[in-house]
């Protein structure tokens, strides 16, 4: 059901929601950007719609709101283990269409690939999503190519137009709240883009023979293995486990999981000194094929959602979308 709300009305509605939910949305963190005097747009908890940033792409994805960067799994106390507390309050996450498609990837990884993940499941059950429509494409986005520019899997959508907000609400409880506030109704379709300045083409014949291509060698020297591309990606799901103890000789501590990156040294190390994919180009190949080839083999659809954040964040100006577009030529090279 569609609504047209003023800033004051939406803020009042959000205040009501905040009683039950913690609300996360893209926020501006002044002077926290990667260059001096630049801001960082990333996810944070908000209490007012005025704190949200609608007209810029968040540099980091929504991922950290439902898959914490550091998550305590359980505590060691003397000889016992005690599960970490589960977050009590429900969560609302504002995100864009590509990110909503990213949620499907996280769900399949954490709920369907092997046994369901206990900790992810606890949080995921508490989350509602509000879609932020895209009135225009941002730099480096290629969602249209990936088919992620539209979604209808949201509880509510909000588009900002000057001082009014166009809302499409599917959540019955929220609909009643909006009706009770006498917010005028009007049919609303969330804004979405139909073209991006960047587009990608994934070759139909792509297979693992492309690993033999020389195209990957380029990344041996260009990539510095910092892993930023993984950390900003809404669909990267890897983590490492760490034990933390509260004092060096203490017996009380915790086991936690922390985001990990297949681009960073040590990711594949095995006991006894073994290690796989030591070259940066091999890691790039592994990541790229995961995003646009082997994930599809396993799940039936591509992993990459075309948000372009990896291109935005790379300190070496490596373009993931360019890399995808080189795959056709690489397939011809290895087919000779």
């Amino acid at each position: 059901m569609g609504y047209i709300a003023t800033n004051l009305e939406l803020d009042s509605f959000m205040s009501e929601l905040a009683k039950k939910y913690r609300i996360f949305a893209p926020k501006r963190f002044v002077n926290s950007g990667i260059f001096s005097d630049t801001d960082c747009i990333r996810y944070g908890e908000i209490s007012s719609v005025n704190e949200m940033v609608f007209d810029e792409k968040s540099q980091y994805s929504f991922k950290e709101t439902i898959l914490p960067i550091i998550q305590t799994l359980f505590f060691f106390t003397e000889g016992n283990t005690n599960e970490a507390d589960i977050p009590q309050k429900d969560i609302i996450v504002f995100l864009r269409s590509c990110d909503m498609h990213g949620v499907k990837r996280l769900d399949d990884m954490y709920l369907n690939n092997g046994p369901a993940d206990y900790y992810y499941h606890q949080i995921r059950d508490k989350v509602k999503f509000i879609l932020m429509g895209c009135k225009q494409s941002f730099e480096n986005c290629f969602c249209v190519s990936m088919g992620t520019n539209r979604t209808d899997r949201y509880d509510m959508s909000i588009d900002q137009y000057d001082d009014i907000y166009r809302i499409d609400c599917k959540n019955k409880v929220w609909q009643k709240q909006l009706d009770d506030m006498n917010i005028p109704q009007e049919a609303v379709t969330p804004a979405y883009v139909t073209e991006n300045s960047t587009s990608v083409s994934i070759p139909e014949n792509l297979d693992f023979t492309v690993t033999k291509s020389k195209m990957w060698d380029e990344y041996d020297t260009r990539c510095i293995g910092c892993g930023r591309c993984n950390f900003v990606c809404p669909t990267c799901t890897c983590f490492s486990m760490q034990d933390m103890f509260y004092s060096e000789n203490g017996k009380v501590g915790e086991r936690r999981r922390v985001w990990a990156s297949c681009m960073v040294d040590g990711f594949t190390d095995v006991a006894g000194g073994g290690s796989y994919r030591q070259k940066k180009g091999q890691r790039m190949r592994f990541k790229v094929l995961h995003k646009v080839h082997d994930y599809k083999q396993r799940n039936g659809y591509h992993m990459c959602v075309g948000c372009g954040r990896c291109d935005d964040i790379c300190p070496e100006y490596i373009s993931f979308s360019n890399c995808i577009n080189k795959l056709s030529k690489a397939m011809k090279e290895v087919s000779k």
């Binding site: 799994l73 359980f74 060691f76 000889g79 283990t81 599960e83 990884m109 954490y110 690939n113 092997g114 046994p115 369901a116 993940d117 206990y118 900790y119 499941h121 693992f208 690993t211 799901t237 890897c238 983590f239 490492s240 486990m241 760490q242 034990d243 103890f245 017996k251 501590g253 086991r255 999981r257 990990a260 297949c262 990711f267 594949t268 190390d269 095995v270 006991a271 006894g272 000194g273 073994g274 796989y276 994919r277 091999q282 592994f286 094929l289 995961h290 082997d294 994930y295 083999q297 396993r298």
Partner: protein, 264 residues
């Protein structure tokens, strides 16, 4: 409510069998279904977890043969002998005994690679009537590195055991040389009805598989077990992923036709 697979359980160390200075078998209390080739995550608070293959299975225990090569295993050797360990598992697919019944079975193991296949060899050494022939080629670096000496002596009584060492300083009863040298010498009646299992260091596995293919064993008859960093064991953390495969979920035991497509 979904089960929390990350929290380990306490398992009593029932016995410790010392093979070499750096390789012990820990006999751990465990009741439940386990297959050879599956693995458990052995956990030491403050040091983390390490995936260890099951090297023996009993009614109320499992054997975990641990080599001292990292910070978790160092700690196991230093402080936990005679006490208990935290475990979670079993994980992975393991070896399916039924696949090998009625066939000529060749097991090629390098070093601690003998651990995951010990259950398979032990089963068929006691049920020789269930296979057409049974051969183990087991290679170690030096005579002092030999694991499961008692088992090897027992197995020799009922099956063909070729025990090799890479080099020996003095006299040894073992053959000296690489396991690959003995592959062309295998006496097999029907190569199409021969199944081979290869487990060991990557280079040894590569050349052993090549040797088996060279003597005419069909590639679909070859099984291998892969070693990777298996951090969660649950198909989530991504460390063990190769191509579209998660070694912890889809392996670690693979048919060679699949294994040969896994490119790191």
């Amino acid at each position: 409510m979904i089960r929390n697979d990350y929290v380990p359980f306490v398992s009593e160390i029932k016995d410790v069998i010392k093979h070499t200075d750096i390789e012990y078998t820990f006999r751990m209390a465990y009741v439940g279904e386990v297959k050879p080739g599956q693995f458990f995550e052995v956990s030491i608070p403050k040091y983390g977890e390490a995936p260890i293959s099951v090297s023996g299975i009993g009614k109320d225990f499992i054997d975990l043969t641990i080599r001292r090569v990292g910070k978790v295993t160092d700690e196991v050797f230093e402080h936990y002998v005679g006490d208990s360990l935290l475990l979670r598992g079993p994980y992975g697919n393991g070896f399916d005994i039924n696949i090998y019944k009625g066939r000529e079975l060749v097991v090629i193991a390098g070093g601690t690679g003998l651990s995951p296949v010990r259950g398979v060899v032990d089963y068929f050494s006691k049920h020789t009537d269930e296979v057409e022939s049974l051969t183990l080629i087991s290679g170690f670096k030096k005579p002092n590195d030999i694991l499961f000496s008692e088992d090897l002596a027992r197995w020799k009584e009922s099956m063909n055991v070729i025990l090799t060492v890479d080099y020996a300083d003095g006299d040894t009863e073992c053959q000296v040389g690489l396991v690959t040298e003995y592959i062309p010498k295998l006496k097999l009646n029907n190569k199409n009805n021969t199944t081979a299992i290869v487990v060991g260091p990557p280079a040894m596995m590569k050349f052993s598989v090549q040797g088996l293919l060279n003597i005419g064993i069909p590639e679909e008859n070859i099984w291998v077990s892969q070693e990777r960093k298996m951090c969660c064991g649950l198909g989530k953390c991504g460390h063990c992923k190769i191509g579209d495969v998660y070694v912890c979920l889809d392996g670690p035991v693979f048919n060679y036709t699949k294994s040969k497509t896994l490119i790191d």
